[in-house]
Symmetry: C2
Subunit: 354 residues, 2 copies
């Protein structure tokens, strides 16, 4: 069982198969033409060490988020940011809203904290039950982990709700790790982020990976309004962890308004299309999504392992979601890509479920 | 005071200066043409996550070192490898041969161990006094750190000597962290490495950064024959820490025999030239080097800070070496580059020392 989606390499090595990868949630528009051009023109950036202060890169990110350079931490993917946060916050007792992305737990386990889970219930369509969460939040927790929109459920919590939750947490001395790695795919995009409230107890994680289709480049960042924590993280980290092409790409991509606009239009249409088409297929239940992937339940008694294998023989790799906490062998996750491939995949799902 | 050389960015930001960077030790041949071509043709690797197992990359490295894939750990620069090693070995008491590269200490401090130093003496021309080291090596140490060739002194310890030291350490239950990041610049290159002895207690760190002029790409690796330690490191690490261009570059560069041969010929000539020309300049003392940088002492009473500033006004950035352990404000380090620039820099040194 893979911890993450997307191990197309193993599939190719072991079975010789080339598949349509619907297990990794990447913008199907692919690399922006502007970025390709800029990398081609600037390969010599590789011959120098990156700026150890990553100042221009941070300026581009700060501008994009309407915050200050001092609020930005850059990382070798969002993963490095999470591990740095865990290492420097050193929480003792953590509550993770779950099922969710597995790396929070992995990052937090490196600092040996106690981990509890707040379950998103299937009977509540995996929507976060905030009143119940608030009752569960004891003072003994020092960290709450929220993924928004949540992976793998695709649900999004509105910023005014999260703002209120952040204030409750503040009163109880609880920090929040808020992963917004998929926020660009939500209708309204960055305007829906909690960043504008500038909560000192909320650490926001972002990535350019998914929206700009650069998972191979490793490019993430954190936003914090806690100066002390920021100082600790910067003082404790490995130097030059962000490569020079990622440094260059940040500046190029965040200003590529054409790519951003086109992508926003695509996902707005396509998430509705995918949900409605999946709903029509008998034997499965899709959960409404606000982002670029969708959680689906097998209702025929077929197990996800069998379903996944069938899909592979049909040429499509889906994400077996049974190893997410609180999900079982009936769940899979599908990426949402371009219309032509989505239609192909929908036909394959229909065939595989028969 | 900078912890490392090469902050040309700060210099440019604060003073508007573009300088010849002799503070970072990078092969002046620059990016290999084959690599440029391959990156240009394969930018789409950025659109996928890297292989989480990095299998092809490890195969290329294993072949290059005549070891097995199982012996290789890849990292986001040698820095990540060092931090991973420290985190997973968790030594209690460490001896660092010093003056040396500052990152060992930084990496080891993250695991709160006791750190002692074994001093390379100026009166011994900074050559490692092995008999004395052996006497110093108490059983209470669990790790010895050796940089070979050593940064900033440029001295190299022959593999038969290191083999003997490794055996002594093995008897005492001491591990060795052996940084061979600059070994390709030593006459004889990889044949001079300790790797062939396959010591279980020796962890070797390498980087493609310096020799292949790709410090912006972040590409390092570790070689270990300790299965248990290997398992711990791989189990504990962040996924996808190596970007997809670095993954691609490894395969391309390690087979670029033309680039390798040309570089070996250049450095063989140029390190001799640089030493002999520096020797002719009055008021400084260069130390014979076996690699692509050279340590120099100011003998006129001028302080390195003043010297460095003078050099900047002449258009050259040198590495103030006074913050290396056991060095003081009389030392600087110079990279060795191509003949035309080396001659320019030699003239500047002459002018600055007057």
């Amino acid at each position: 069982m893979e911890l993450h989606g997307g191990n197309i390499y193993k599939l190719k090595r072991e079975k010789g198969l080339e598949v349509l990868d619907y297990s990794a949630n990447i913008n199907p528009m692919g690399l922006s033409d502007r970025l390709k051009e800029e990398i081609g023109k600037n390969l010599s950036v590789l011959e120098k060490y990156p700026d150890p202060d990553y100042l221009e890169m941070k300026e581009a990110i700060a501008k994009h988020n309407k915050v200050e350079v001092e609020n930005i931490i850059v990382g070798n993917g969002a993963t490095e940011i999470m591990f740095l946060y865990a290492k420097n916050l050193k929480p003792k007792k953590v509550l993770i809203i779950s099922p969710t992305f597995a790396e929070y737990e992995r990052a937090l386990k490196t600092v040996n904290c106690e981990i509890d889970y707040f379950q998103l219930k299937e009977e509540e369509d995996f929507i976060l039950n905030i009143p119940k969460l608030k009752k569960t939040l004891e003072d003994s927790y020092d960290l709450l982990v929220v993924c928004n929109p949540n992976n793998p459920t695709g649900k999004f919590i509105d910023k005014v709700i999260l703002d209120d939750l952040a204030l409750t947490c503040k009163d109880k001395g609880i920090s929040i790790l808020l992963d917004e790695a998929f926020i660009e795919f939500v209708d309204g995009s960055m305007d829906r982020s909690l960043v504008e409230y500038k909560h000192k107890n909320v650490f926001i994680v972002r990535a350019l990976t998914k929206f700009f289709a650069i998972p191979g480049l490793r490019l993430g960042y954190g936003i914090t309004f806690d100066e002390e924590l920021k100082g600790k993280i910067e003082g404790n980290r490995e130097p030059w962890s962000v490569n020079a092409i990622a440094e260059l790409a940040t500046k190029v991509l965040l200003e590529d308004s054409e790519y951003i606009k086109k992508s926003e239009m695509w996902i707005k249409e396509e998430k509705k299309f995918m949900y409605h088409e999946l709903e029509k297929i008998k034997g499965i239940k899709p959960y409404i999504t606000e982002t670029n992937f969708i959680l689906v339940k097998l209702m025929t008694g077929m197990k996800v392992d069998e379903f996944r294998k069938k899909m592979i023989t049909l040429g499509v790799l889906v994400r077996d979601a049974s190893n997410f906490n609180y999900l079982d062998d009936k769940y899979f996750r599908l990426a949402i890509k371009d219309r032509i491939n989505n239609i192909k995949v929908l036909r394959c799902v229909e065939d595989a479920i028969k």
